[in-house]
């Protein structure tokens, strides 16, 4: 196998890896700015210098030439090489800043130049704390600057588009954002304008940066030049918790990180998953923070003589069971939800199946032609395939309307799905029966409910979704509810504020904890009242059960989903139909 020597350590490689990526893959720290594994390689920041050499091969003897001490003769390139653009070859010798004073000096030199015109306003810069420039300056930068002149001034606070704001002075011209719009989103909306040290990225006159993926440029910006108009100045990164999750605004199921502070979701960023979304996600997935934070249902609500009043959980359970009593099997309609998780749908379905109520349906929310073939899918809901696999009957809006108007339903149980708001049902159809809505947010459908059960949403519980390409992925709790505790739930991340804050600090409050429980938990309580309890204590137990019951989920567990960044459980999505 070909070999490469980096700082006098031998590594083996396959194919033609680039030296920088190879070093990063092997845990060797190396500074760089412009390189991004998913973008083309411009080698313009000149930060990832290495000394590189190749052994001298003698064709006549068919062997490497050796010096007096028996070591291979290495011919070094006359100039320093950028590791990002350098392909590894057999026998190559690389010297980094760890072994070469020249490289160490060159990296300092480049850093000095980068900082010459950088405003160094870290204390007021949003990027501080997660800034590659800041981090690498501490690690590899010069001790001070010899620049005693006026810096170049460029425009600040430019609104490039509806979601992205540019501070041109902070820009180090790595062109990652430009390459992103050229190579990934393919809108070609950004370019570098002007010349030399006056360069900065801009849009063409009269246009705006309204790329549906524009916020990815904020993520890949190695400095604070591009900021999100939504998030800027809202929180410092070290105050937040970062928890892995899944974007549920779309059938694609982009992997995300959910950033919370004091139990408010501050921002959402994409999480790397080569099988789904690579490093990217669409902008509207990030705007989902509003659904997570605002307009939440907290505490159960019941209709009492026409008035909607907050109620206790006990009362909600009693209401539910009482209304259930004495109903015939064709008098209950259970509407599952492609918006809710596999576990919640399963728990609901299992209880009602056990009780003999087999009208279990769901209405997918697929808008043909609304996708773009990249990360925006036609499917507006994250779990359509999950509902299909669990065996909910797939209905169109017309069929559900027909079913409701012809049938003699006394009770309807609906998992979170704004059927009225998205035009599936006319609201009159829900007025007559006893209507239970289990959801996280108030909407037009919940407004009609006789009983509203507040349930935890995707960032408040562990739950899994089967995306439009048949891959099951799961979230973890990022945000506490009234009944969960960050310090007790080992899956939840604990940021600095949570770790060191107390109730007596003004940055920690309990205001933002919602009084809600996972839907399966409520169903379990109802089941207990009906003597049908299953003993679920966590979503992962439900997944274990699903895995043993349903063939499609065989062999699954949360551990496996975590280890493999999601598991492909459907080979051919087009063949999936409701059982």
């Amino acid at each position: 196998m070909p070999e490469i020597f980096i700082d006098n350590v031998r590594y083996e490689f396959e194919g033609k890896p680039l030296v920088l990526q190879f070093m990063l893959d092997h845990g060797l720290d190396h500074p760089f700015f412009c390189y991004h594994p998913s973008l083309s390689i411009p080698a313009n920041c000149r930060q990832c210098y290495v000394e590189a050499g190749t052994p001298v091969f003698n064709r006549e003897t068919n062997s490497y030439e050796l010096d007096e001490s028996g070591e291979r003769v290495i011919r070094f390139f006359p100039k320093l090489m950028t590791a990002c653009s350098l392909e590894a070859t057999d026998g190559m010798v690389i010297k980094t800043h760890r072994t070469s004073a020249l490289v160490e000096r060159a990296q300092k030199d480049t850093m000095e130049f980068i900082l010459v015109n950088h405003p160094l306003d870290c204390p007021i810069c949003d990027q501080a704390g997660e800034c590659p420039l800041q981090i690498q300056t501490y690690k590899y930068g010069p001790e001070g600057s010899r620049f005693e002149h006026k810096k170049v001034h460029k425009p600040k606070r430019i609104k490039l588009g509806p979601r992205v704001i540019l501070d041109a002075e902070r820009c180090i011209n790595c062109t990652r954002c430009v390459r992103f719009t050229e190579e990934i989103s393919k809108t070609h909306q950004l370019t570098i304008i002007s010349r030399g040290d006056k360069n900065y990225p801009a849009v063409a006159p009269g246009t705006e940066f309204d790329d549906p993926y524009s916020l990815n440029t904020v993520d890949i910006c190695p400095v604070g030049a591009l900021t999100s108009s939504d998030f800027r100045f809202k929180a410092r990164v070290w105050e937040m918790n970062q928890t892995p999750g899944i974007d549920i605004t779309n059938g694609k199921g982009c992997n995300i990180d959910v950033w919370t502070r004091d139990n408010v979701v501050m921002r959402i960023t994409p999480r790397y998953n080569p099988a789904v979304n690579d490093h990217w996600m669409p902008d509207f997935g990030r705007e989902d923070i509003r659904r997570m934070n605002e307009n939440r249902i907290s505490k159960p609500e019941v209709l009492l003589d026409g008035d909607r009043i907050k109620s206790s959980w006990n009362n909600a359970e009693l209401n539910f069971t009482e209304n259930l009593a004495g109903l015939e099997s064709n008098e209950i309609l259970v509407i599952g939800s492609a918006f809710s998780s596999v576990e919640d749908n399963y728990a609901v379905k299992k209880l009602f199946s056990t009780l003999g109520f087999n009208h279990q349906v769901f209405v997918p929310n697929i808008k043909e032609g609304s996708g773009d073939g990249f990360l925006i899918d036609d499917d507006q809901y994250p779990n359509t395939n999950g509902c299909r696999l669990l065996g909910f009957e797939e209905l169109t809006s017309e069929k559900l309307t027909l079913l409701l108007s012809k049938g003699n339903f006394k009770m309807i149980v609906s998992l979170e799905d704004d059927l009225v708001g998205r035009g599936v049902l006319n609201e009159d159809l829900l007025k007559e029966p006893y209507f239970v809505y289990m959801g996280s947010n108030h909407n037009k459908t919940s407004a009609l409910a006789d009983l509203i059960v507040p349930i935890a949403n995707s960032v408040e519980q562990s739950c899994s979704y089967v995306n439009s390409s048949g891959r099951i992925q799961r979230t973890t709790a990022a945000k506490e509810t009234l009944y969960t505790n960050r310090r007790l739930n080992l899956e939840m991340s604990v940021g600095r504020l949570d770790r060191y804050g107390t109730k007596f600090d003004n940055w920690v409050t309990d205001r933002n904890r919602i009084d809600c429980i996972p839907a399966w938990d409520f169903i379990e309580r109802v089941a207990t009242n009906l003597d049908k309890q299953t003993g679920y204590e966590s979503a992962s137990e439900i997944m274990d059960e699903i895995a043993s019951v349903l063939p499609a989920f065989n062999g699954l567990s949360y551990d496996r989903i975590d280890d493999e960044l999601g598991v492909q459980i459907i080979g051919d999505v087009s063949k999936v139909t409701s059982a």
Partner: protein, 426 residues
């Protein structure tokens, strides 16, 4: 050991009136070489002849043109290009302009022959945007050549097709660098490309491309006509041929002069250009455009204008655009002006050049304005070390060399301008 230049008859710009008209050019043997090549020669023979003639690129790098042509891969049926570089923007360089104006068909003929040698489908003539009038002249010449059937389909019944397009730059020095020239031709921002891949493998639109200077291609018909042996007999041994010296600065008769390579600088100044104005002494000579290291006036004895001699003297041939400065010149001002140019023209792609050129200029302004300190001289040299060879293209070197060699060779000028500040070691 200067060459025999007094009996030299110009061949690139011969003394024939209105030679730029195609009829006149034809009457004087124009396009005969093209006819000869298309009729009897194979592409390999052309390449070998040019290689043997050792035409060293006149754009500055001085690379053997025929050797460069031989790097082109075998034709695969797809398009292949020549990009003829007429972007001459380096301060002190203004030779290609004369070819555009006085002998455009020599270049066109040379480009077609080169195209034949490399199975080229199209030649792009990239001319700097500031040369508005010369772009028009060149376009006229190309139109005439099309009308006469020297360009286009089935040239002179040989079955060989080639097109030629005149393309205007938009005012960027960097687009004279071969890979950013290609980016510019493709309609992109003029950022130099990372090599490898080299243009011969992946050039314009990803296809094999050769980039030659205008003057280099203009030499080709002469080689075909008179043979490689004649050509190598002109001028310096390792750097032969006629060359257009663009001489500017403090001489009595500045201008473009055609003479063999290897002429002694003193001959050029005192005999060709009639000496320094006012009979003053020469203080400095920049031999080949502003990026080449300047030579001191007292260094000039015996230095000739060819690659070897200039390398020994500590400079380079470049484009043979010489700038002569007399003893009244303040080298601080000169260097500041040169640095200002490179600061203004850096494309801003690579960090060392983008921010280094500005750093250099600002430090030089400080010295020029009398606020400089001794340590700034060391800083300048240090910055040069930080820039040289650290970027994608050679603009950082072009910006750093004049600083390094002006500061070291004319240090007394700089020391006079800076404060004699003494810093305590602490």
């Amino acid at each position: 050991m200067s060459v025999d230049w007094k009996n030299f008859e110009p061949v690139l710009l011969p003394k024939i009136p209105v030679l730029h008209k195609i009829d006149v050019y034809e009457k004087n043997g124009g396009y005969d070489q093209l006819k000869k090549v298309l009729k009897d020669w194979t592409p390999e023979k052309v390449t070998n002849e040019v290689k043997a003639a050792n035409i060293r690129g006149r754009g500055g790098a001085g690379f053997n043109a025929g050797l460069k042509w031989s790097f082109m891969p075998k034709p695969d049926g797809g398009p292949r290009y020549i990009a003829a570089n007429g972007d001459e923007s380096e301060p002190g360089t203004f030779k290609d302009r004369q070819i555009f104006e006085y002998n455009p068909h020599l270049f066109i003929e040379g480009a077609i022959i080169a195209g034949f040698a490399m199975s080229i489908t199209a030649v792009y003539v990239y001319i700097r945007g500031e040369y508005k009038d010369w772009i028009d002249m060149m376009q006229k010449a190309v139109d005439d050549a099309y009308a006469k059937g020297y360009l286009g389909k089935n040239i002179l019944g040989s079955g060989f097709d080639i097109d030629m397009y005149v393309h205007s730059g938009a005012g960027a020095y960097i687009c004279g660098e071969e890979s950013s020239l290609m980016e510019s031709l493709e309609g992109k921002r003029g950022y130099p490309r990372v090599k490898p891949p080299f243009p011969a493998q992946k050039g314009l639109w990803g296809r094999p491309t050769t980039i030659n200077n205008i003057e280099t291609l203009a030499n080709v018909p002469l080689v075909i006509k008179n043979g490689a042996e004649w050509y190598t007999g002109i001028g310096a041994k390792n750097h032969p041929g006629p060359v257009l010296y663009g001489i500017s600065g403090h001489v009595n008769r500045p201008g473009v002069y055609e003479y063999p390579t290897g002429m002694s600088i003193n001959d050029l100044i005192y005999d060709v250009c009639g000496g320094v104005r006012g009979g003053k002494k020469v203080k400095a000579v920049i031999p080949g455009g502003s990026s080449t290291p300047p030579l001191r006036g007292d260094q000039l004895e015996g230095v000739c204008m060819d690659a070897d001699s200039l390398r020994t003297a500590g400079s380079m041939m470049g484009t043979a655009g010489m700038i002569i400065m007399d003893e009244d010149t303040d080298m601080v001002d000169v260097l500041w002006r040169i640095s200002h140019f490179y600061h203004h023209e850096s494309c801003g792609q690579c960090t060392p050049c983008r921010d280094g050129t500005g750093f250099l200029e600002k430090t030089l302004i400080k010295i020029r304005d009398g606020h400089g300190e001794m340590r700034d001289l060391d800083l300048l040299l240090d910055l040069c070390t930080q820039m040289e060879g650290r970027t994608i293209c050679a603009l950082a070197d072009a910006a750093a060399w004049p600083v390094r060699y002006t500061v070291t060779r004319f240090r007394e000028d700089f020391e006079k301008r800076v404060k004699n500040t003494v810093y305590a070691l602490a």
